[in-house]
């Protein structure tokens, strides 16, 4: 930043002694106006005496008050210990937790506030109350100090040959740049060897997998799904998996029954619903919250996290909010026993978008 072309004349009156203690290096004033006519600092106001300064008798009273506060603190701490012992938590009794929390807390509060208020009161009422003045000095070191500091580096450079021996220096810099590489590579095994993109493309759903209720895992008959009802659905067998939550985070489905004439079905999805029963992924295509709120009258789904709305009558297309893609639809039908089953896995990855999603 070239200050020379600021266009402002450097006026020696500008700058307080903080800046001027070393006149050669006095900083530029920038654009401050130097008034020859400014109001003068009136100097320190007279000391405003406090009660204890005026009436020595009051000093005793203040003293008693302060030590009284410290005694309150002692009492509070003792009370807290007493409450810890006298009001234990009784298994199954939530009221006992509340009492324990309250009395222990109040005791500790008294213990702390007694000290705090007492100390502040002491400092304000009895301790010497006159303001003191300390001079500031410029933050930069003196020229002599700075010259010495420069000497240190010059000597260091000379004695080591850091600047002169460029081969050594550059190879050292090279080595230092490369050393952290193993540390970065080491983090590869934070996750297993599998390719995450492949995992994101598949869920537990497959041809013939029964739709079951979340969380019980009981299969759902098509006849159970009455008009206007909605079911939270998981694939059959999910509850027996060891990686249940990971699979559920992809496979959770919302099942609804609409009047078949309310559905606007595209030709390629003609056989994906069963008598107006449709199944959509419950994982929002925005950032993955469960789209759990179903509005029966309008057949809209609302994501409570960021308010994206999906219209079930139009194959869950986005009608409001930050999500871009419709919720993926799970193709369903019924098996021989009348239970709802999947016709296949989702035909596209569920959940939030990712870089490789459309590849």
């Amino acid at each position: 930043m070239a200050n020379a072309d600021d266009g402002q004349p450097s006026n020696p009156r500008v700058g307080t002694t903080v800046e001027k203690y070393n006149d050669d290096n006095m900083p530029r004033p920038g654009t401050a106006v130097v008034a020859s006519d400014d109001v003068q600092n009136p100097g320190f106001p007279p000391f405003r005496p406090r009660v204890a300064d005026l009436y020595p008798a009051k000093e005793r009273e203040q003293e008693r008050r302060i030590s009284g506060l410290f005694f309150v603190s002692i009492v509070g701490s003792v009370l807290a210990v007493a409450a810890y012992i006298a009001f234990p938590i009784i298994a199954g009794d939530i009221g006992s937790v509340r009492i324990n929390n309250l009395l222990l807390g109040i005791g500790i509060t008294l213990g702390l506030l007694g000290i705090g208020v007492g100390a502040v009161h002491w400092s304000k009422s009895l301790m010497e109350g006159h303001d003191l003045v300390e001079q500031r000095h410029g933050t930069r070191g003196t020229d002599a100090t700075r010259a010495k500091a420069v000497d240190v580096f010059t000597l260091g450079n000379k004695e080591s040959g850091f600047g002169r021996r460029s081969l050594i220096r550059n190879s050292l810099i090279g080595a230092l740049v490369v050393t952290p590489l193993p540390a970065i590579v080491l983090f590869r095994d934070l996750a297993p060897a599998t390719d995450p993109v492949e995992l994101l493309r598949h869920t537990l759903w497959a041809k013939g997998v029964r739709l079951t209720k979340d969380p019980s895992g009981t299969p759902i008959k098509a006849s159970e799904v009455t008009l206007g009802s909605a079911f939270h659905v998981i694939p059959e067998g999910l509850n027996d998996l060891h990686n249940k939550l990971e699979e559920k985070a992809k496979a959770a489905v919302l099942l609804m029954r609409l009047k078949p004439e309310d559905l606007n079905v595209s030709p390629e999805r003609a056989d994906w619903n069963y008598n107006g029963i449709v199944a959509y992924s419950k994982i929002c295509t925005h950032v993955g919250c469960p789209v759990a709120l179903y509005e029966q009258q309008t057949h809209h789904l609302l994501c409570p996290c960021h308010q994206s709305q999906f219209d079930i009558t139009h194959e869950a297309k986005v009608i409001f909010g930050p999500a871009k893609r419709p919720l993926p639809q799970l193709p369903i039908t019924v098996d021989a026993d009348g239970y709802l089953i999947a016709r296949s896995d989702f035909t596209q990855p569920v959940g939030p978008s990712f870089w490789e999603r459309s590849l």
């Binding site: 307080t16 004033p29 109001v39 100390a119 939550l245 308010q307 990712f354 490789e356 459309s358």
Partner: protein, 540 residues
């Protein structure tokens, strides 16, 4: 240096206590030369103003966080191993959950004082971030970030970001339904990052979301890595505070060259030490009276259910609100690769906002061309454009923050969700502009008022009837001390465009002059001595 272990000589027979402190002081000094430090710092002066407390609140609540957090680590199990809950909280008995959630419930219901410590920890964390935010606003609006304190502003900014990171990692540890949903959103956002997003998410969660590693990993960050960096940065922050000495507001006798206030020993030590106990006490009082983060109501994490009105902790709200305000359809596929603009734009907006906050001192220094040291804190009105920029920034943040509660606003005020979102979208653009102009006008208005009072005094409320029947209100003059507070600020003029040594006017020059003109154009000059004398002779 003495070679013998001589006790300090005293002329009078000292009491036993004095003999002991003398001996102890000597013992320590001969091994640490601590007397030098005491001499340097013991009577250091700290100026006083209520707004200087905000930073103290942050420091003290951090100590409370360390103390209560240490207690919690003795009981918390950072493991996602599935267990069946069998503790005291009946509604969750027999439910499968992670060991982390179970231990958090046990801390709440089966350990005496455990619930209190959990709530102390959470309330203190909220107070920590809130007080850092207010402290930053105080520094900003009083111009206390100017030379030589720009670096300390940056360190303070780092502390603010670290505090938010600490808050988020801590919030995620109990592995309850809300914290799991928070992580799900993080996962979704990370996946939206081009090229590396999918892999970063995969590595972070140790496989597919949610996996069984994330709580343990966040725990290491939360109790080791982040606090270590935080404590180190806090140390440097305090060290620079001591080196630069505290700023003070303008007042009679105070100049840019001195510090006026109370010495550390004893007054400031008593006040600040006492204040630590007050902050601690108030946090404990709140924790014993008000429930925070009732994880037992939410239940363990499950990717399927979610409750309406889902809210992050308030300090993350602005980022969550930004996610909500993105208009529909912001996602494109380019050459087969998905570009999630609905996430990238949010990251960019929040990122740029934070970068501008971090770099503001350097921007202002460039615009004003001011290279001097400033130790007198500005009154916000005396830097109208800075105050207006601050007001615009606060408004921008506030709108994002409000947007994070759009659904609650809609239900409370019986509005439509869409209407609230659209309203916030409009406000996000117009709000800061309106706030900028309003704040600037208010500042200039207040400056004019100050001028008026400095010159003509204030209305006394005393009505006098003159012999001619005219009624006037008597104006009382200010004394010199009061007037000084109103008139002691610096006047600036915009930079002028001048050719440089080569006779050229650079683009840099032009931009800077324009910026300077914008910054200093509307400004009221401080009252001069002549004006005061004139007005007094006129009124006399």
């Amino acid at each position: 240096m003495t070679t013998t272990e001589d006790r300090p000589a005293t002329s009078l027979q000292p009491t036993r206590g004095a003999r002991f402190t003398g001996w102890a002081g000597n013992y320590i000094d001969e091994r640490t030369s601590i007397s030098g430090l005491v001499k340097e710092l013991g009577r250091k002066i700290f100026p006083d103003h209520w707004s200087f407390m905000l930073g103290e609140v942050a420091l003290y609540s951090f100590i409370v966080i360390l103390l209560s957090g240490t207690f919690l680590t003795f009981f918390f199990q950072a493991s996602m191993v599935p267990v069946v809950y069998d503790g005291s909280w009946a509604p969750l008995k027999g439910i499968e959950m992670s060991a982390a959630m179970k231990s958090a419930l046990d801390i709440s219901f089966d350990i005496r004082g455990g619930l209190l410590m959990r709530q102390v920890h959470h309330w203190a964390a909220l107070l920590f971030i809130a007080s850092i935010g207010l402290h930053m606003l105080r520094i900003y609006f009083t111009g206390a970030f100017r030379k030589p304190r720009e670096i300390n502003w940056l360190i303070g900014f780092l502390l603010f970001v670290l505090a938010m990171a600490e808050g988020f990692t801590g919030y995620s540890l109990p592995d309850d339904l809300l914290s799991g949903n928070g992580l799900r959103i993080i996962d979704g956002m990370v996946k939206g990052v081009p090229i590396i997003g999918t892999w970063i998410s995969y590595l972070l969660f140790g496989g597919e979301f949610p996996g069984t590693d994330i709580v343990g990993r966040l725990y290491t960050l939360h109790i080791l890595l982040l606090p270590a960096i935080l404590v180190a940065a806090l140390g440097v922050h305090m060290l620079l505070l001591i080196i630069n000495k505290h700023t003070q507001f303008a007042g009679p006798g105070r100049t840019n060259d001195n510090v006026v206030g109370a010495p550390i020993m004893p007054v400031f030590a008593a006040k600040a030490g006492g204040f630590f106990f007050i902050v601690f006490g108030v946090i404990v009082l709140i924790a014993s009276l008000f429930t925070i983060n009732p994880i037992w109501v939410y239940g363990p994490y499950d990717p399927s259910p979610v409750s309406a009105g889902t809210q992050p902790d308030w300090y993350i709200g602005f980022a969550d609100g930004a996610l909500r305000l993105v208009p529909p359809g912001w996602e494109v596929v380019l050459g087969g690769y998905t570009l999630s603009l609905n996430i990238l734009v949010v990251l960019a907006v929040v990122g740029i906002f934070l970068v501008v906050v971090a770099l503001y001192p350097f921007l202002e220094a460039w615009i004003t061309g001011d290279k001097r040291e400033h130790h007198i804190a500005d009154r916000p009105r005396n830097a109208p454009v800075r105050t207006a920029i601050g007001a615009a920034g606060v408004t921008f943040y506030a709108v994002l923050w409000a947007a994070a509660s759009s659904d609650l606003i809609a239900t409370h005020f019986r509005l439509t969700i869409e209407g609230v979102i659209h309203g916030c979208q409009v406000l996000l653009i117009t709000g800061p502009i309106i706030a900028y102009f309003v704040a600037k006008r208010v500042c200039v208005g207040l400056q004019k008022k100050d001028r008026e009072i400095a010159l003509h005094g204030y209305e006394s409320g005393r009505i006098v009837r003159l012999p001619g029947g005219e009624y006037i209100e008597v104006h009382e003059q200010l004394d010199d001390y009061e007037r000084w507070k109103l008139v002691s600020f610096e006047d600036y003029t915009p930079l002028m465009i001048r050719p440089n040594a080569q006779g050229r006017i650079t683009v840099n020059q032009r931009v800077r002059a324009a910026a300077s003109n914008w910054f200093f154009e509307d400004r009221i000059a401080p009252v001069t001595r002549t004006e005061i004398e004139k007005s007094h002779s006129h009124e006399a």
